[in-house]
Symmetry: C2
């Protein structure tokens, strides 16, 4: 059986997104693409880290990471409607994706992936993801709130932080309200664009 991994791009002060996320600024104010420049503009230099993300056997993500609803940023209690997500017809997730939401919805089949909508919490999402992942890893794909839930629940084996050299001062904070963790460095690679720091979460 694989492990549960989690990848998240964060600012040096620990934010995975800026404040006031909106359809126009899905990463929040003051961020633009800067937390993910390494992935897109410098993809070649970071292929190993990108490959490590995209080889998971299944993913779990929060509903804001799946996408907005009816061209508006959804309120937390709004259903996801028929929106097909941020990810276009060929999402970068070439494996099943389990989306945490409060609203039931039929699975959405796209090229190479299916989005499943899970209404009964992160443990259920992980169980379903593990079943479809087989021997491969299950990846917590973000955002911060979903990762924090997973850390809080003690289900993350390997935490891969991608720390970008800027601070935001406000926004969605990784580790927010998560009890203290003891970690062990298992891999690292630091470049001008991003510090890739991978930790095993000790139990």
């Amino acid at each position: 059986m694989g492990i549960v991994t989690a990848d998240i791009g964060i600012s040096l002060d620990g934010f995975a997104a800026g404040p006031n996320q909106s359809l126009e600024k899905p990463m929040g104010e003051g961020v633009d693409g800067r937390l993910h420049t390494w992935m897109f503009e410098y993809a070649e230099q970071h292929q190993a880290e990108i490959d490590a993300i995209t080889t998971a056997g299944a993913y779990v993500m929060g509903r804001n990471m799946f996408g907005p609803v009816r061209n508006q940023w959804p309120a937390p209690d709004e259903p996801l409607g028929d929106w097909a997500g941020w990810w276009g017809d060929v999402p970068p997730y070439h494996a099943p994706v389990f989306v945490l939401t409060h609203y039931e919805r039929d699975p959405l089949e796209l090229t190479d992936t299916t989005f499943y909508f899970v209404t009964d919490g992160i443990h259920s999402a992980l169980d379903q993801a593990r079943e479809l992942a087989g021997d491969a890893d299950v990846s917590i794909a973000g955002g911060a709130e979903t990762l924090n839930q997973a850390l809080w629940a003690g289900v993350v084996d390997e935490l891969r932080l991608h720390v970008v050299p800027l601070t935001l001062g406000a926004g969605e904070r990784v580790f927010d309200r998560v009890p203290p963790l003891d970690l062990e460095l298992v891999r690292e690679r630091v470049t001008p664009e991003v510090a890739h720091l991978t930790y095993r979460v000790r139990r």
Copy 2:
């Protein structure tokens, strides 16, 4: 003229000390020595980083980092009294140290260093430190509140974070209320005990 550097040991979630600092637990609850294990228990492996700290020509620090008063953790408005600081008769600072405080006090001469007490703010402390440092660097020695003041004032040239593989969940947070910063990686070395990440602060 030297530059202004700042060294601070932090948890992966950005705390330089835990909550509820006290005389018994000067680093706050749940920390013990763990944010500085690399400096003390693994000093040999981190000599280069320790040398970089100790070669400054002068230091600026917050009053809690200087030490408690009358065997009690001082309230923010309490004078420093006659306390000789945390650092014993031979402090690790072999250069003048300027302590930010609200209370005037005569300089305290110890082996190889003098502690000066500055009541008119961080800019004044830095000016005085620069004058005594000559061509050497001036180092902001911490804690988080003093570093945040310096970052907020835009006076830090080189920020040296020493990131320890644990999270605290609460305490004194680096970057708290500091406006967004744009940084440039200038040096890095990652070990199991600590990730040394040095950034130039862009203006």
